[in-house]
């Protein structure tokens, strides 16, 4: 517990105190006291994405999970791990690596904590293979606004007893309660890595290549697209992880398939001796492998810098080329440069916008949203200067389920004390 300083501000809102409980019980005590006092609380994990969502309506207390930092139990034989929310994802991966296992989540932020990753539903390139938080989280312990501690799920992968609160809390951005513990299912770390990569000249060409890949029997871990801007080509990178002979053959087949789909000049990157590759990008980035592992580690970087405007458009694979073209058009119309990357296999596009003042950037968000809406593609602001966020809703419309979401919030946090105003529809 200490008084808050200017660096503790959350999106412009200045808290008065920062408190760092070191256990579930302490977290519950802090929240109960905050509840009784009517203090508005924002949770902070690694603080890497505290700017996510709308600026809070106000904050009195920052609850930091920095002292909830223990890996509680790694049941290697069961491929399950139980961790406290403040454990950094990179540290967790490092703890799992000796057993040849990993948690299949690879968001770009190195500082991210387990709690933050769950609360923000963070993901990375390998979501194509492992899914997202909702697919890997099998148990959760949360503390509600009034200090009530609750668990759901458990230590077993298969479990349908009771409601799945883990799903509800994944992506809830600290608005329903504080995540104090999470239990995940794990995967064996792959022994080898291979990559196929090709230049693509236009969004439509990338789209055809991705369609052909997805329709094939190949099993990539990731299909990533990197496009610095509309004036040059983009790069499509297809990642394979598994055992040596398997991944090398798949990468070679991918190169052929890309050529057949009208994408010439595909290159295959191999690590050399099978077994040399590591779980780079997931296991703490040790430089163990050759070309393929290095290429894999470079995947998934965000196309924006801190302080720029970064948006995320989730369309599904078939909508991606259209969404990319739309983002470029609207950016050009506002005189902005747009760099894009995409998890092309799942259809999640991210774009960083450069140039222009806050008004222009806000106009871009609203304009792009409007153009994308008919294609059922939502645009979410993932990073933005405060002035931009003051002019737009970070989330955009969420449809006819909003009243129901409000009711959920109302039940879990009736006094509206947790991250007020940050979430969809002002929740």
């Amino acid at each position: 517990m200490r008084e808050a300083g200017p660096t503790d501000a959350v999106d412009g809102a200045q808290p008065r105190a920062v408190v760092s409980p070191s256990s579930t019980t302490e977290t519950a005590e802090v929240l109960r006291a905050a509840y009784e006092g009517g203090f508005r609380t924002v949770v902070r994990g690694g603080g890497s994405k505290l700017g996510l969502g709308n600026p809070p309506a106000g904050v009195d207390l920052v609850l930091s999970t920095e002292r909830l930092g223990r890996v509680l139990e790694h049941a290697a034989g069961d491929l399950v791990v139980r961790v406290e929310a403040g454990v950094r994802l990179a540290d967790l991966q490092a703890a799992l690596a000796p057993a040849g296992q990993l948690l299949g989540l690879d968001p770009p932020e190195a500082r991210a904590t387990v709690g933050g990753v769950v609360a923000a539903n963070a993901s990375g390139p390998r979501r194509l293979r492992y899914g997202t938080v909702r697919d890997l989280l099998i148990g959760i312990t949360v503390v509600l606004a009034d200090g009530t501690v609750a668990h759901s799920g458990g230590k077993v992968v298969k479990n349908v007893a009771g409601y799945d609160l883990g799903k509800l809390f994944a992506g809830s951005l600290g608005t329903l309660g504080v995540i104090v513990e999470a239990i995940f299912r794990l995967h064996p770390a792959p022994a080898a890595t291979a990559v196929a990569t090709a230049e693509v000249a236009a969004p439509g060409q990338a789209g055809s290549a991705v369609r052909a890949l997805l329709a094939s029997a190949l099993v990539p871990s990731a299909i990533e697209l990197d496009w610095p801007g509309p004036d040059g080509p983009g790069t499509l990178t297809v990642l394979f992880e598994g055992i040596g002979p398997g991944v090398d053959a798949q990468a070679a087949n991918t190169a052929r398939l890309l050529a057949d789909a009208g994408t010439p000049g595909a290159r295959v990157l191999l690590d050399g001796e099978p077994g040399q590759g590591g779980e780079a990008g997931l296991g703490g980035g040790a430089d163990r492998g050759g070309e393929a592992t290095r290429a894999a580690a470079a995947l998934g970087a965000l196309p924006w810098e801190a302080g720029q405007l970064g948006v995320k458009v989730a369309t599904g694979p078939s909508g991606l080329p259209g969404a990319l073209a739309t983002v470029w058009e609207v950016a050009a119309a506002h005189g902005l440069a747009a760099r894009a990357t995409a998890h092309a296999g799942t259809g999640v596009l991210r774009a960083g916008l450069d140039g222009g003042d806050a008004t222009t950037l806000a106009a871009f968000v609203n304009g792009a949203r409007e153009r994308l809406a008919p294609a059922q593609a939502g645009l979410v602001v993932a990073e933005a200067p405060l002035e931009v966020k003051q002019g737009v809703d970070a989330w955009g419309p969420v449809g006819d389920a909003l009243p129901l979401m409000r009711k959920v919030k109302q039940r879990f946090d009736p006094s509206g004390l947790l991250s007020p105003g940050r979430f969809v529809g002002g929740i």
């Binding site: 009517g38 349908v160 509800l168």
Partner: protein, 485 residues
């Protein structure tokens, strides 16, 4: 008490005369689901054909203060679709259209009454399938799968229903229609799709379901390895997992389960085996071939007596037929049986099997074991003869004790059949009172009047009441914050 005649008339106005069943004899058809030990005749059964009719029927229930229960194919094994005597049973089996298939985005949109296997049949010619494959897949509905978060043999690698549903249209208990999720990933807002899947019909009625489709793997390899005991088979599974292999499916059947299945489908299990292990790998050809050799070697290392490899799809189908018919086949070796569903951490397999055997022996009962060994989901089948005085009670008691053993090992009271009416009494053994109360907050958000499948899942229904309003203390009036916390 509601005026039944009035209810019938209002329902007929919504559904037409053919959509309402009110005659006692016909109502009895619906008195139970796959768990026949619980029976209740509903006041009324309605058979909507459209979302609008579901909405209309639910709205009538809401206005008349009548509880309702959804029913798909009625194959549930926990009494989830058990009717309420003064309530309406809403049967979704006439909503059976596959509405849309989108191969590019690998999604299908279906009505809730669509049978699980129909989805795969529909998309198989194009090389796709729907992954969750409960043994009941020939008859159970997608709506029922969503409600139960059903699993199947191939869920070890590919996940359960919840990992394959990306969107839902649901009718809320007050008749409102909402759309959750959709085809695209990461919809903003709370993951209410995730909250709804597995909620056992207590949060509303699903009227449209968006499913993920998967591309058929390039190669599939299946083997059946015999062992002296289920324990030894479990050991082989541990070795396979420790080698970093994630099989598509890993199933174990013990001697008694084999005996039953053999009588039913003639799989030709090896003579004298104490257990068989079925391992299926799928994926890219090169990887599959390599890992399959390793699996074979690991089975031998663990002491497998014989290993049979499926030569073709027919033989593979036979291996699976033996496994998938095991529940029903047990009827051939015992007049009555109780299907239990519990979960343990996979590594505790040997321990729990020994405990089950001891407990069964103490009570003079036989237990046939069938399990999804990869994820620790056990299905002990407790055999008994209802005509023998006291045997049914002993069987029930044993079934309960098996669950407690699972819990003691850090497991769960249900891995896929759900809590329903059957296991709600055990929920307090797995969860604290606070856990259950917090789960009910979700229930209250969806169904504040508790009219949607009441009496299931939770031992004591919570009265939702008014949600407390904003608190009055304003932070500005609290200068001593730092000291207060």
């Amino acid at each position: 008490m509601v005026d039944r005649q009035r209810l019938i008339e209002r329902m007929r106005a919504v559904l037409g005369p053919g959509g309402v069943i009110a005659e006692r004899n016909q109502l009895r058809t619906y008195e139970c689901d796959g768990l026949a030990a619980f029976r209740v005749v509903p006041a009324l059964v309605v058979l909507p054909e459209t979302t609008e009719q579901v909405q209309g029927a639910v709205r009538v229930c809401h206005e008349e203060g009548v509880p309702f229960v959804a029913r798909g194919s009625g194959t549930g094994l926990s009494g989830g679709a058990l009717p309420v005597s003064d309530g309406v049973l809403i049967v979704l089996s006439r909503m059976r259209r596959i509405l849309e298939i989108d191969y590019d985005d690998q999604r299908a949109v279906v009505e809730p009454g669509v049978i699980n296997l129909w989805v795969t049949k529909e998309v198989a010619p194009r090389g796709y399938y729907y992954a969750p494959d409960p043994s009941s897949q020939l008859i159970c509905s997608i709506g029922g799968n969503v409600a139960e978060n059903s699993g199947g043999a191939h869920c070890l690698k590919y996940g359960f229903t919840t990992n394959h549903v990306t969107g839902l249209e649901i009718v809320l208990p007050d008749g409102d229609l909402v759309h959750l999720g959709g085809k695209a990933p990461d919809p903003p807002g709370y993951d209410l799709v995730g909250a709804f899947v597995g909620s056992e019909g207590t949060l509303g009625i699903a009227t449209k379901v968006t499913l993920r489709l998967l591309r058929k793997p390039e190669a599939v390899r299946t083997l059946m390895a015999a062992f002296e005991s289920a324990d030894a088979a479990g050991d082989a599974v541990s070795k396979i997992i420790a080698a970093g292999i994630v099989p598509a499916a890993v199933e174990i059947m013990d001697a008694l389960a084999m005996e039953a299945a053999e009588a039913a489908v003639h799989v030709h299990y090896p003579e004298g085996a104490g257990a068989v292990l079925i391992v299926e790998l799928d994926g890219p050809e090169a990887e599959c071939t390599h890992q399959f050799e390793e699996v074979e070697r690991l089975c031998q290392e663990a002491g497998s007596t014989t290993i049979q490899i499926a030569e073709d799809d027919d033989q593979r189908a036979l291996f699976w037929k033996g496994r998938k018919s095991a529940f029903a086949a047990v009827g051939r070796i015992s007049p009555d049986y109780y299907v239990q569903d519990g979960v343990i951490p996979r590594t505790a397999l040997g321990a729990v099997l020994r405990e089950i055997a001891d407990m069964a022996e103490e009570r003079g009962l036989r237990v046939a074991n069938v399990f999804h060994a990869g994820d620790g989901n056990l299905h002990p089948l407790v055999l008994y003869d209802g005509d023998v005085e006291g045997e049914e009670e002993r069987a029930e008691e044993l079934a309960a004790k098996i669950l407690f053993a699972c819990l003691a090992l850090g497991g769960s009271i249900t891995g896929e059949h759900g809590v329903g009416a059957d296991k709600k009494k055990y929920m307090p053994k797995q969860f604290t009172a606070d856990d259950l109360d917090v789960m009910q907050l979700l229930r209250c958000a969806f169904d504040p009047d508790g009219r949607c499948n009441p009496g299931k899942v939770f031992p004591t229904p919570r009265l939702c009441g008014e949600t407390p309003g904003k608190r009055h203390v304003h932070p500005a009036e609290q200068p001593g914050l730092v000291e207060a916390v």
